[in-house]
Symmetry: D4
Subunit: 165 residues, 8 copies
Amino acid sequence: MSKPLVGIIMGSQSDFNLMNDAVKILEQFKIEYEISVLSAHRTPELAFAYAKSAVDRGLKVIIAGAGGAAHLAGVTAALTPLPVIGVPIKSSNSIDGWDSVLSILQMPSGIPVATVALNGATNAGILAAQIIGSSDKDVLNRIVAYKESLKEKVIKGNEEIKRKA
Amino acid sequence: MSKPLVGIIMGSQSDFNLMNDAVKILEQFKIEYEISVLSAHRTPELAFAYAKSAVDRGLKVIIAGAGGAAHLAGVTAALTPLPVIGVPIKSSNSIDGWDSVLSILQMPSGIPVATVALNGATNAGILAAQIIGSSDKDVLNRIVAYKESLKEKVIKGNEEIKRKA
Amino acid sequence: MSKPLVGIIMGSQSDFNLMNDAVKILEQFKIEYEISVLSAHRTPELAFAYAKSAVDRGLKVIIAGAGGAAHLAGVTAALTPLPVIGVPIKSSNSIDGWDSVLSILQMPSGIPVATVALNGATNAGILAAQIIGSSDKDVLNRIVAYKESLKEKVIKGNEEIKRKA
Amino acid sequence: MSKPLVGIIMGSQSDFNLMNDAVKILEQFKIEYEISVLSAHRTPELAFAYAKSAVDRGLKVIIAGAGGAAHLAGVTAALTPLPVIGVPIKSSNSIDGWDSVLSILQMPSGIPVATVALNGATNAGILAAQIIGSSDKDVLNRIVAYKESLKEKVIKGNEEIKRKA
Amino acid sequence: MSKPLVGIIMGSQSDFNLMNDAVKILEQFKIEYEISVLSAHRTPELAFAYAKSAVDRGLKVIIAGAGGAAHLAGVTAALTPLPVIGVPIKSSNSIDGWDSVLSILQMPSGIPVATVALNGATNAGILAAQIIGSSDKDVLNRIVAYKESLKEKVIKGNEEIKRKA
Amino acid sequence: MSKPLVGIIMGSQSDFNLMNDAVKILEQFKIEYEISVLSAHRTPELAFAYAKSAVDRGLKVIIAGAGGAAHLAGVTAALTPLPVIGVPIKSSNSIDGWDSVLSILQMPSGIPVATVALNGATNAGILAAQIIGSSDKDVLNRIVAYKESLKEKVIKGNEEIKRKA
Amino acid sequence: MSKPLVGIIMGSQSDFNLMNDAVKILEQFKIEYEISVLSAHRTPELAFAYAKSAVDRGLKVIIAGAGGAAHLAGVTAALTPLPVIGVPIKSSNSIDGWDSVLSILQMPSGIPVATVALNGATNAGILAAQIIGSSDKDVLNRIVAYKESLKEKVIKGNEEIKRKA
Amino acid sequence: MSKPLVGIIMGSQSDFNLMNDAVKILEQFKIEYEISVLSAHRTPELAFAYAKSAVDRGLKVIIAGAGGAAHLAGVTAALTPLPVIGVPIKSSNSIDGWDSVLSILQMPSGIPVATVALNGATNAGILAAQIIGSSDKDVLNRIVAYKESLKEKVIKGNEEIKRKA
């Protein structure tokens, strides 16, 4: 078993159900990953250490999901030169998801976070694969095939609807 | 000169003009303070060390101002048991200030940030004084006097307007 | 039994379920409190009297929760030199909580309200404890311990997820 | 000179320029008014007394203008059985006016504020006139005439534009 | 039976459940009213005729409730010199109620609508009573009594909560 | 059977239930239509080809429904000189529908999309009929009759409510 | 000179500068138009008469621009079977344009308004041309040519930027 | 000179001033790039061809900036397996930037766009470098050095402010 290339982190155990969508994508694309619960607010030292050691542990990309005032992605991005993908999560007591979207997206100049759609863990997984695929022919080919499968699903949907209408 | 009780930190030098409003209030209330530029994203180690050492250095309250995806207040609150006051700043490229308001206000359960109004550095200074005043009779009296002065200004405004109208 | 240090007030009896989260925290931190239903709009005289007498009755902090056009925290802050913590509540007919958030947060210069997240009664309790803890070593130590317990919960969550994945 | 029927109040002297639009309308409609600077937050006792005495002093309507977390209209409405018209004002540091709009509009059941558009002091004056006009034939006729004058202005505008185009 | 003083209109039969709250208040205050379904968009001629004839039919105030792009209150206000109270309704497919709030509130200079909170039909009824009460001592006294009853309900809630806590 | 005049397209099969409202209207107005599932993101080539061939296939109007970052209407409008009607759909994970509303409505100068209300598929069908009706007397007459039927429904609702009240 | 096919109406003379963009497009596409200032709120009878007579006067499309609580497009759509294009205008005192966008876009089922982008008068003109072009080959060809010219402008921009970079 | 690794595209020539920030970063990181003006709406065929050929031309990442209903990033992402970075641009007539933020961010499942902050072209350049750096040691080292330089700037700012205060 090779070393993980993608680190998936999330602010709370309750985010797992959603973030598991990223796991499924990475498994489908045969990309090694590791998964951790790490909170920028409740375990800042661990989050700090995780981000600082990411390059040396061989990670290529980090996916960070969090809700509300979601600082995990930004703090991680502050501490690693790797690309960090942020997944805004609409948690309970969120103000319609705007809080996590804006606290992940609106990073200051110098420290980007690659933000995906609200609850977009699947897309975070695909984006991680695309980043790896940009220098890995095999992964790139799997992405091409995946996009082809999306196409087929739409075409089948089209046929079904034409039958219904 | 006694040790600072209030630590004022801000994400960027460009926030000083605004955050100086908090300084003026603390000087008016005769409360010792210290002021630092510290970025959760550009100097995470320094921000980390600052927050971790705050109690031991004798601080009673921290005021943190930042714009955009403003993580400074939250990350500081994660690392100190002291009350942290957050000042959302409407920086350029802010989405109308919503980004800094929501990334400071919407902290997860367990790690509060005492958030004041957008650009409310004056109020952050007063709130810091109120926190100190809750166990310091002299400061409390100065707050009472300050509130009296606000009243007088309104009463004077009232008289001027009645003359004009 | 010692005198209450924290006054918890709320605009309506229906806010009790939520505001009880602040009660639980204060009990956990062994801080005496009192709790009242008081409306800035329906019992303005009582709200007025409550705020005016707060210092003399020995309170150190007031926590005020209200929904919609939430004026209770602001009106209380107008009438006491004590720090006032505002809890925006997402009541029915609220416009997604924005109304209570903005009517509590956006206080004018001179009269701050320490605002916490939407429905953030737990955090209001913690913030009250932090304010008291800033001059009370015992309470400060309990906050340190509380933060440690948050950490452990995340670490346990991390272990469980690693087992699942 | 007869007693004022309309009380115009505003949270700060700086609101006078805007609130003067209501004055102009009332003068045009020959309705007696009084004007005061009164802050729910900086002069709560005065605001309180003003609202409590309004009926006995012969007022029929109160117009209250304020910005930010604008509590003046609501607090006044809490303390008088008279109709209170609220004018949300877009002050500096306002979050695009949303704060004053929502803190005036979203009053809880039992205590309405008749809210007009952002910076709508002219309309507040007209609404006050309409309220008085609903039981005063002369004022009602002046409103009818005023509406006729609005019509003529549009018709003239129409003619000018047809010439231009 | 005397002539109705308040006209309650609504854009759709489905708004009746909500608008009935205004009916209940008017009955409680012993104010005669009439109720109609009238759409600015589906029955513009009827809405037009209703508003034009309102003064002559003896109405003193009109309450108009509508959802989405809610034009009923504004169009009615355009056609009568009487005060028009607008009730924004959060209908299905509404964008969180913002559409009806803004289309009722943000009337242009010259044609005010007295807007109440989202779904605030009760408050619309009270405001109508206050408008009538501003020139009718009996109604004014009923409002005073009503406000007293609100107070008592809060005081009872306070007592219950103190027992619970 | 004559050639379809209206092309109804949607980004996903799951949009069919909603978009079927447009179908029903077109059938009621006896306007030939075709219906397809086509995604700007998952089947860009098909969407491209569809739009490019629309004029030659005899279509007069295209209705495009999509949710989230909804590009289908805009991309179609880019590739055809025909009027394109956009239906913003509030899909799961949408940020309250704002995303699809703004990505359909805010088209740059030169490439309009005729946007209808959130989930407004019925109105999209009517608008398509109106466009065809602007040069087809029969369809125009059916629209006039349809508007009459709306009126009658409101009048019946009015009668029912008067009976209830 | 032939009869106008497009009626351009606007709520106020001050909207002419913006709405003139629609005029320029119609002239470029050689489509006859008429232009009027008509307010749903200040000249409701004229707006009413205009819309009612539109079909008989030979109009094919109406473009209605208005700001704030913008009811002109909706009220016009209520009174004519013709397609009505709504142009939301960001007037002074607008709440960032949201008010006019939502009061034009969110029309109830049965009465669509074809809404274009905020201040999108140019696009309103193009959409009107597309509606006419859907049954007029010459106009359709001019739209095709217009789209070609947009393309060329981008291509020229591309060349200039490649030289600069 | 080696082949470009990063393609920078923008919807309009007027976006160049902003998008040039990405250029400067790539030059600083010594990464070859190409720059083009390409509109999803005005030159759909060119945008289509650009995206389809990107992999074969050797690109590793695409940066797409656009304002309003910004479809360029999404349409490009639909047509390439490469990672696409989206830069929301606050253009004139934008609704405060929300339109471009949401039309870039809220991509449907399957087709991610790595979105950066409003007007965040600098961060888009850095993110592109991080993506390349995840498999290129030299670029990674330059990012580490860049982050060090950000740190030094903050430390210098800190010193200046301490001198001032």
